[in-house]
Structure formats: structure tokens, C-alpha cells
């Protein structure tokens, strides 16, 4: 009996997940943290038999580099580490080049410009998943928030949730906490909006009661990404994407 080949998972991992937490963990001899597990998957470029393609923008890598330099790491080594994350993306199953975001983030209705850039990049690269600890900034009027689990953080309990951003033009991104993502991956779940809704449907809430129904008519912002050097353009609805070539 032939096994069904699983589709590729396109995952954007926030720089605050793939940078400092894994370095902190390794420095202190920790193993098995959720950040380490997420990075292990993107490093292996697969989970089980499912190929995993990392998605990172040049801006995200730049932020990672700046944070590490600010912490006190040498500039050259910080740059090298950020570049090595880009290399993981370029060597992935889709061999993607990083994008340079030019415009469009302002139309995504998000408060945080940096996170809007993360979302715009994820949309342009057709990501299925954004892994981030900072979920609140991804809640917009058009997003769907689904509570997932309660975890202990020090002496307090924290409720985790996922955000689903789904649009009529086919864009569908799950924004999830690393702890949830690791749990889903370990249990062999194929990450999708349908899976998240199916598993946690009872707690699904819309942040904004006046929000349009998911999948209904909407105006999709014009997100423009331009390559640092010229490359093939991909047209996706009103998204215009160019991949950078040799931009490192």
C-alpha cells in the first residue's frame, strides 16, 4: 500500500524564536526547549516525512543580527549566524532566496511594523505557518483567534492561542506559539487552519465581532517585495514578489 506523500510545510520562524532562546538554552546546557525543537525541524528541513521550508526575509535576518550585536556578541559572528539562518532557507526543499520587503506592510492593519513585515513576507512566500512567541501583534480585525492550551510560566499560568489569517484570495496562514507548534509536529499533525480549528474549535473566537466572515469578500492589500538584485517575478493576486539573487 503506498503512503500519501505529505505536502511541504512553509514555515516562517520569528527571529526572537530562532536566535536568542536557542543560544541561551545551549549556553546553559539546556536541551529540548521549544525554540530548540523548532530550529531542529527547520535545520533538518523536514519533520517525519514532511519537507519543511524555512522562510526568512533579509529584514528579519538583519533584526536578528542587530539583537545579537546589542546583546554583546561580536558583529562578525552575529552576521555569520544571521547569514547561516538565510543559508538554511536557501538550502531548503524549495531552495528559496530571501525576500526584501519594499512596501505593503502598512496595509495589513497591524500595529507593529516589524511584525507586519513578517506577515507580508509570509504571505508573499505562501507560508502555511508563522512561529512566534508574539501572537498578540498578529491579531487583526480579520483574524481568527483560537485558544489552544494553558501553560505554566514561572509561577503564573499563561493561556496560549493561535491566530488564523485566512482570506478570500487563498492566503491562509496559521500564526502559532513555538510550544503549540512543537506539540503538533511531535504528534504528527499536518499543520493547517483546518487542523487548528478542528482540534480547538470550541474555543474559537473572533477578536472583532464586526469582522467579515472568513473567506468573504475583502480588499487584499498590495504587498510589494522587490529583489535586491533582479530575479524572476512571481505574481500572486495583487502580491508582487521578486526573489533576490546572490544577496548575501
Amino acid at each position: 500500500m503506498s503512503r500519501r506523500r505529505r505536502r511541504r510545510l512553509f514555515a516562517s520562524v520569528s527571529m526572537s524564536t530562532c536566535g536568542s532562546p536557542i543560544l541561551m538554552a545551549i549556553q546553559n546546557g539546556r536541551t529540548g526547549t521549544s525554540a530548540q525543537a523548532v530550529i531542529a525541524v527547520t535545520r533538518e528541513m523536514k519533520v517525519g516525512d514532511q519537507p519543511v521550508q524555512l522562510i526568512v526575509s533579509l529584514e528579519m535576518a538583519d533584526t536578528l543580527e542587530r539583537v545579537l550585536t546589542r546583546v554583546g556578541f561580536s558583529a562578525a559572528r552575529s552576521h555569520n549566524f544571521a547569514s547561516s539562518v538565510i543559508d538554511l532557507m536557501k538550502a531548503g526543499p524549495e531552495q528559496l532566496d530571501p525576500h526584501l520587503l519594499i512596501s505593503g506592510r502598512d496595509q495589513l492593519g497591524m500595529h507593529d511594523r516589524e511584525d507586519a513585515g513578517v506577515l507580508a513576507t509570509a504571505i508573499a512566500a505562501k507560508a502555511d505557518l508563522i512561529v512566534t512567541d508574539n501572537l498578540r501583534d498578529f491579531q487583526t480585525n480579520d483574524s481568527e483567534t483560537i485558544e489552544t492550551r494553558t501553560v505554566r510560566a514561572g509561577k503564573v499560568q499563561r493561556r496560549l492561542f493561535s491566530v488564523i489569517i485566512e482570506r478570500a484570495d487563498g492566503v491562509c496562514v496559521v500564526v502559532a506559539h513555538p510550544i503549540d507548534v512543537v506539540d503538533w509536529l511531535r504528534s504528527g499533525k499536518e499543520i493547517s487552519a483546518a487542523m487548528v480549528r478542528g482540534q480547538y474549535r470550541k474555543s474559537a473566537t473572533r477578536r472583532d465581532r464586526g469582522a467579515r466572515p472568513i473567506g468573504g469578500p475583502c480588499r487584499w492589500p498590495d504587498v510589494r517585495l522587490k529583489a535586491r538584485a533582479t530575479g524572476p517575478a512571481i505574481s500572486r493576486g495583487r502580491l508582487v514578489v521578486s526573489r533576490s539573487r546572490g544577496s548575501r
Binding site: 520569528s14 527571529m15 526572537s16 524564536t17 536566535g19 536568542s20 532562546p21 536557542i22 543560544l23 541561551m24 538554552a25 545551549i26 549556553q27 546553559n28 546546557g29 539546556r30 526547549t33 521549544s34 525554540a35 535545520r43 533538518e44 528541513m45 533584526t63 542587530r66 539583537v67 545579537l68 546589542r70 546583546v71 554583546g72 556578541f73 561580536s74 559572528r77 552575529s78 555569520n80 549566524f81 547569514s83 547561516s84 539562518v85 543559508d87 538554511l88 536557501k90 538550502a91 531548503g92 531552495q95 507593529d112 516589524e114 512567541d133 508574539n134 501553560v151 505554566r152 510560566a153 514561572g154 499563561r158 513555538p178 510550544i179 539573487r245 546572490g246
Partner: protein, 119 residues
């Protein structure tokens, strides 16, 4: 000490080499020197296999092998870069007792602070 060696390349390979050199801002001499250095690092069996696969036009195996090699190289580079940073021990040991969520929140704060600083 260095030695000067000359070689003949067919037009296709020479064109490709020039294109790579231009794109990567290297001289042809530097490109060829690097290529020879990498090739001579490989064991004979691997060199022979690569040449054999290369001789087959549109070799799917060669593409798959190249992809695997790229992935291995990317992993090695990532591990090395992470190891070099960890060796600097820039993070305080206080985070050693932090749980998973606290590690992520500490990292998120660092990132947010840098973003605010940048404006």
C-alpha cells in the same frame, strides 16, 4: 608559496565560471583556485561519482546530490555559527533556570527593545 597552473575549459563551463565570478565579485583566478581546493578535498570515490553523474545530461541524481550537499553545508554552517556565539557566553547565567516560556519572553523583549531603538 603558490603555483600558477593553466587549464583549458570548454566554452560552456568557462561562460558559467565567468558568470559566477561576476555575481560573487571574485576574480576568475580566485574562483578556479577555490574550485580546485574544494575538489581536491573530496575523496576519490566522491569525485569520480560527481564526474560520472555530471556526464549524464540533465542528471536528476546530480541535482538531488547537490541539494543534499547544500543542505549539509547549511547545517554545518549554522551549527558552527551558533557554536561560536555560544562560546562568547554573552547571556547571563540567570536564564539557566528559566522555563521554556520565560526563555522565549526574554528573547522577545530583546527583539522588541532593538526594534524600538531602531524606530
Amino acid at each position: 608559496m603558490s603555483a600558477t597552473i593553466s587549464t583549458n575549459l570548454d566554452d560552456t563551463i568557462a561562460g558559467r565560471a565567468r558568470e559566477i565570478a561576476q555575481r560573487e565579485h571574485r576574480s576568475m583566478s580566485n574562483l578556479v583556485a577555490n574550485a580546485v581546493a574544494v575538489f581536491t578535498d573530496f575523496p576519490k570515490d566522491l569525485r569520480d561519482t560527481l564526474l560520472e553523474l555530471r556526464a549524464i545530461s540533465d542528471s536528476a541524481q546530480l541535482r538531488a546530490l547537490t541539494r543534499e550537499l547544500s543542505a549539509l553545508a547549511a547545517r554545518a554552517r549554522f551549527d558552527m555559527a551558533a557554536g561560536e556565539l555560544v562560546a562568547e557566553k554573552q547571556f547571563s547565567n540567570e536564564v539557566g533556570d528559566a522555563d521554556d516560556i520565560e526563555l522565549l519572553e526574554t528573547a522577545a523583549k530583546l527583539t522588541q527593545a532593538e526594534i524600538r531603538r531602531r524606530g
